[in-house]
């Protein structure tokens, strides 16, 4: 397991480095002078020149890249334009809100998707299976911002069961959680459908396997066969899917944060783009990338922990 972990970790470092390089090239290729954009139309040429020197834009491109790369790895993402605070600090302040939102989305999708998929597979061909199939496709088809808006209108505005905006009081965990329910539902609902379909398909495959026949031939109880013998295998593709799906959840989080006026990295990037705060955009994108890679790493390690065959291959 140690060798496996180290290999995955090494791969993660390579991917983050590549992402940094791509991000650098993209910023470099954006037309226009970053110093001019940052200072606005009323700045003098001298002011722009001094900012360019301060930002290192007078250096050759490979020096710029090397500086960006080494600083980024040490957590220095530069300063943002409006308040001149370190970008890393600003992003990190917002990150926990987004993490909570995505974790909430995961909880919804896993807690509903896995039992639904399992149920549909066990009751294959029944009306229950058909209903789960239709509901799955429906929730996949509805965009998350539509879910967000309707959830807000129904549960917060009309029924007044749950709070409409913000993230709740910092010291009050219950308040934080009630503020999380609707936005995380918006992030996770589509994934309920994906996971239910995925779990159903892989359950059907696993239930046909020879070792399930063996388990039945020993008269094991059906619940043990379904949950201990079949689901533990059928869950594996879903873990991989979720690791990759984090990227999509991150983009749903942007909408959820805007609709529910929640703090978070998505809201931060949105505001930064509107105010052309490019260092902040770059920093937030980089942090999100690292987050994505880390969660994928976690998913890989989880697969290794769940599947002895994968573990031994490394």
């Amino acid at each position: 397991m140690l060798g496996y972990t180290l290999k995955r970790l090494g791969l993660a470092v390579v991917i983050v480095s590549l992402a940094m390089a791509i991000l650098f090239v993209m910023i470099y290729l954006i037309p226009g002078d970053p110093a001019a954009v940052a200072l606005g139309p009323r700045a003098t040429e001298a002011m722009r020149e001094s900012l360019r020197v301060k930002m290192g834009l007078d250096q050759p491109v490979w020096v710029q890249f090397w500086n960006f790369f080494t600083r980024a790895w040490t957590g220095d993402l530069g300063n943002e334009v409006l308040s001149d605070r370190p970008v890393a600090q600003v992003v990190m302040e917002q990150l926990p809100h987004t993490l909570a939102l995505i974790a909430g989305g995961m909880v919804w999708s896993v807690a509903l998707g896995i039992p639904l998929g399992c149920w549909a597979a066990v009751k294959r061909g029944s009306w229950a299976d058909r209903v789960v199939g239709i509901v799955s496709v429906a929730v996949i088809a509805v965009p998350s911002f539509v879910v967000a808006i309707y959830a807000l209108l129904i549960f917060a505005v009309t029924l007044r069961w749950l709070p409409a905006i913000g993230a709740g009081d910092a010291g009050d965990l219950g308040d934080r959680l009630t503020h999380l329910i609707l936005p995380s539902l918006a992030v996770g609902l589509g994934w309920v459908g994906y996971i239910a379909r995925m779990v159903r398909a892989s359950m059907l495959e696993v239930l046909e396997a020879q070792h399930i026949r063996t388990a039945r031939a020993f008269g094991l109880p059906e619940t043990m066969i379904t949950y201990r013998y079949a689901l533990t295998i059928a869950i594996l593709p879903t873990v991989t899917l979720l690791g990759v799906g984090i990227g999509q959840m991150l983009s749903s989080a942007v909408f959820a944060e805007i609709v529910f006026a929640r703090p978070g990295v998505g809201k931060l990037v949105y505001d930064a783009i509107l105010t052309r705060n490019y260092p902040l955009v770059t920093g937030a994108v980089l942090v999100t990338t690292v987050l994505f890679v880390l969660i994928n790493l976690l998913a890989d390690l989880l697969i290794g922990a769940l599947d002895p065959r994968v573990r031994s291959r490394f």
Partner: protein
């Protein structure tokens, strides 16, 4: 004493092209402490027969007639819970494919502990029992083997583990569906000797299915020859192999099992095709491929008994 008696068993599968009559009027006995071999070409219904006995027929399969009497109880009338109570403790099974027969994500010890779920023993006692069984099938370092996973064992070891699991419950009947077909020749011999040793210790009956006539001759006391879902001939190994009374058996034996190399996995080829099981011929099931058929073969055939205990479903078995 008869452990298992099968009488007039009929099984059909509902398919798109109509009902597929996979077993017709199957009858034979498995006496106590005897090893009964079932031999027949691929598709003749061997696995269907096992699944019918175990109550594990595919969803589209149905027993349309007959009885499966196990220790005095007719299994065709047993409900799902009664069948589950029998599977494992009274009837255990070893399947053909050792690679896929064990769960890949659960350790061997966990799987062996799980199948003892009915036992009143504690966890440590169950694990000790598992290790003892692994010892019996000659798995090296049985205690350590319990914490390992199936992919860490070779094919032959996996098959021995499967045998250990099946015999752990000390069943009255062990069903083995081509347990050695996936193994190479030396392993096949070793596995068969092991099976016979253990059968002797436990004193169970065995229903042993194989493609390999040599293995059947070596291991079994009685043999049942199946063709296209019917039992065409049955008797002791000596009766059937020395004096086959059904032309199908005779054709099978023409290539002397002793001369077959260990690697041959298939029975000798007989010209012609298997009959369509959706439209079974009215007369003798083998007539279309039989070089000794006569006019009488167009009528349905009953079992003749040319010698005590030796039965063949052929008109030629009447004349002595």
């Amino acid at each position: 004493m008869t452990v298992l008696a099968i009488r007039g068993l009929n099984v059909s599968f509902a398919t798109e092209g109509g009902d597929l009559h996979a077993l017709r009027d199957v009858a034979f006995d498995v006496p106590a402490r005897r090893i009964v071999g079932i031999v027949g070409e691929s598709g003749c219904g061997k696995s269907t027969l096992i699944n019918a006995i175990l109550g594990l027929l595919a969803d589209n399969g149905r027993i349309t007639g007959g009885q499966i009497v196990f220790e005095g109880q007719d299994l065709t009338r047993a409900d799902a819970a009664q069948m589950r109570a029998l599977r494992g403790p009274r009837i255990s099974t070893v399947f053909q494919d050792p690679m896929g027969a064990l769960n890949p994500v659960l350790s061997v010890g966990r799987q062996m502990r799980n199948i003892q779920y009915r036992s009143s023993l504690g966890r440590a006692a169950r694990d000790a029992r598992s290790a003892e069984m692994l010892q019996k099938v000659r798995i090296p370092d049985p205690e350590a083997a319990l914490s390992r996973y199936p992919h860490e064992f070779s094919g032959g070891m996996k098959q021995r583990i499967a045998i250990a699991m099946a015999l752990m419950m000390e069943p009255a009947l062990l069903i083995a569906d081509e347990p050695t077909t996936a193994l190479d020749a030396t392993l096949e011999v070793a596995t068969i000797e092991l099976l016979r040793d253990l059968q002797d210790q436990i004193g169970c009956s065995v229903l042993f299915i194989s493609h390999h006539l040599g293995v059947i001759a070596e291991l079994c006391d009685d043999v049942v020859v199946m063709y296209a879902g019917e039992v065409v001939e049955r008797g002791t190994v000596r009766q059937v192999f020395r004096t086959p009374r059904h032309p199908y058996t005779a054709r099978l034996l023409e290539c002397d099992p002793a001369r077959q190399s260990g690697r041959t996995r298939h029975l000798p080829v007989i010209p012609g095709d298997l009959p369509d099981l959706r439209n079974r011929p009215g007369g003798c099931i083998f007539a279309a491929r039989c070089d000794r058929r006569g006019e009488a073969c167009a009528a349905p055939q009953t079992e003749r008994e040319p010698a005590p205990g030796h039965r063949a479903r052929c008109i030629l078995a009447e004349a002595t």
